[in-house]
Symmetry: C2
Subunit: 338 residues, 2 copies
């Protein structure tokens, strides 16, 4: 019997996930598509994939504009969230709430640390899976360029309600559903470790490249990696340790060298160049939060975060999410910062 899967956010990652899930005809994917909807419903996606070759006119089983509309094709056993993770702009738990039933497991196929907290809080007892993706894939107007293997670690964020066995069973079920002969989807017994490990890169090189406007190669050659990144990585290690995850210091050099010999532009840098919001909350803000909860000093990461926070708010202003007063005011208790 096919499983019903709701997939929210068809970017580079989401498109390949939709394809992988439909590949063995074991899932029926309903995809929520926003900006590309008209083209996607008419022509589908044009995929050039290192895993699957060229596929023209790929369409998931159903393409809809909203989660509300998607509910007609439910109930869903899995809701796979592949959107950019910007909880300061959009709350995932609100986006998906209409589609969550007692039978649903939520899969966060997204970047960041601590991203499960608001989901588990909003849907207590629901199984929430962590999916950490290593993939090179982009979507420009339904043209999917996928040039690095779809490699995903899947585990569960313990919801402290369901038994560990059951959470593990569901995680493995999702691995089975998503696995094809072409991709590399594995069960991850230690979600926390995997997420912190990825954050050694994504919480340092990524936001620092974004602030300075240069790729990782230039950052290193211009002295920024020595001056800032390595120390910032050590700060991540300290926070991870306080959060119960021991990462070997060698991981820092591995991450710094991980893009060699590419002049690689990390995601936040690309977002900055496009004037888009960045994933600052899940890559930086949540680290600051966990550090503060545990009393871990993070002098570099804190400054990086505070700078990005101002930039993010400035974008909110440009997009009309923040309205400025006519006259400059002094933030105080009655007028807190915007």
């Amino acid at each position: 019997m096919t499983k019903k899967v709701l997939l929210v956010g068809v970017g580079g990652v989401g498109a390949i996930a939709a394809l992988g899930l439909e590949w063995r005809k074991q899932s029926e994917v309903t995809a929520v598509v926003r900006s590309d909807f008209d083209k996607a419903i008419k022509e589908g996606y044009h995929i050039k994939s290192v895993d699957y070759g060229e596929i023209k006119n790929f369409k998931p089983s159903h393409i809809v504009k909203s989660v509300k509309e998607a509910v007609n094709y439910g109930p869903f056993e899995f809701i796979v969230v592949c959107t950019k993770n910007t909880p300061d702009i959009v709350l995932i738990e609100e986006v998906i709430q209409d589609a969550v039933t007692d039978e649903t497991a939520i899969v966060l196929l997204q970047n960041g640390i601590g991203i499960e907290r608001p989901i588990i809080k909003r849907f207590p007892g629901t199984i929430v899976l962590s999916a950490v993706s290593i993939i090179g894939s982009s979507n420009h107007n339904c043209e999917i360029n996928h040039d690095y293997i779809d490699k995903v670690s899947v585990g569960y964020f313990d919801n402290n309600v369901t038994s560990k066995e059951e959470q593990e069973r569901v995680a493995k079920e999702f691995v089975e559903l998503y696995s094809t002969e072409n991709n590399d989807i594995t069960f991850d017994p230690n979600v926390k470790y995997t997420r912190w490990k990825k954050l050694v890169y994504n919480g340092t090189l990524n936001p620092i490249c974004a602030l300075t406007g240069v790729d990782v190669a230039r950052l290193e050659m211009f002295g920024g990696t020595n001056a800032l990144v390595r120390q910032a990585m050590y700060e991540i290690l300290s926070v991870a340790r306080a959060d119960g995850v021991e990462l070997d210091k060698d991981i820092c050099e591995i991450m710094i060298r991980s893009d060699d010999p590419l002049w690689y532009s990390p995601s936040m840098l690309i977002d900055m160049r496009k004037g888009n919001y960045t994933e600052v909350q899940v890559l930086c803000g949540n680290v600051v939060k966990i550090a503060e909860e545990n009393g871990v000093p993070i002098p570099i990461l804190k400054v990086i975060y505070d700078l990005h926070l101002v930039i993010q708010k400035s974008k909110m202003e440009k997009n009309g999410l923040i309205e400025l007063p006519k006259e400059r005011f002094i933030p105080d208790k009655e007028h807190p910062p915007l």
Copy 2:
């Protein structure tokens, strides 16, 4: 007898200084003009000044393209340097060296801390004056808009060769030469104090606005002033103290409020918006240097500086001052950061 003055750099500050110096016919100003030369020599400057009213076709006594050419109108008793202060891009001591004689005093009418060091080192025994300007004035293609009084504190950077009395006498001579009934030029007995005080603003609000892309009002309303600026100012106070200057903590709030109620964009922010080099070395780099010499921890200022340093080098690359290797390399002893 008129004094011969060489003025290097006719921006908003330099144009009003040239006007002030020529005002009472006691100085003969030779101005070195680069980008505006053709227009300046033909039409002069169109000045709209809060101090002097509207003046059309203002020309200093001589307008030349280079210091080499200026030497024909010397020897100069004063060389007034009004250029943007970017020692990582241009060395002032090299620019002016052909015009410095035994009779010359050099006036640094420029921003920053520690800016006298390379000048005194290069011209030992030469009197070097400090001129700190509070002015609102801009130059766009020989159109000078001057909207806040020309207020300058003039003192001397002790060169440890000439007697203090003689250095003070020369500083006061310059004050006399520059003073008109319209401006406010005063002798400053404590140059170091004045420069550190101005740096409480210019070493914090200025580079932080530049990194976040917002004016001082938005920075405050978006939380950046509380999160970063105030603490960064305290760091400046610590470095100043180690450098022998005691600044009252109240100065921080005074600086934070000094632009009220304007939505003011500081100079480094304007430079960033224009894609220009910033004065990062004299506003941030020299603070880091003095802090390190004295073992003063400056966690925030260090990060701000390191980020700006990468940005500055990225601009050098764009302008062809730094040539990147074809292949990404790993900085080491043989291949230091660029």
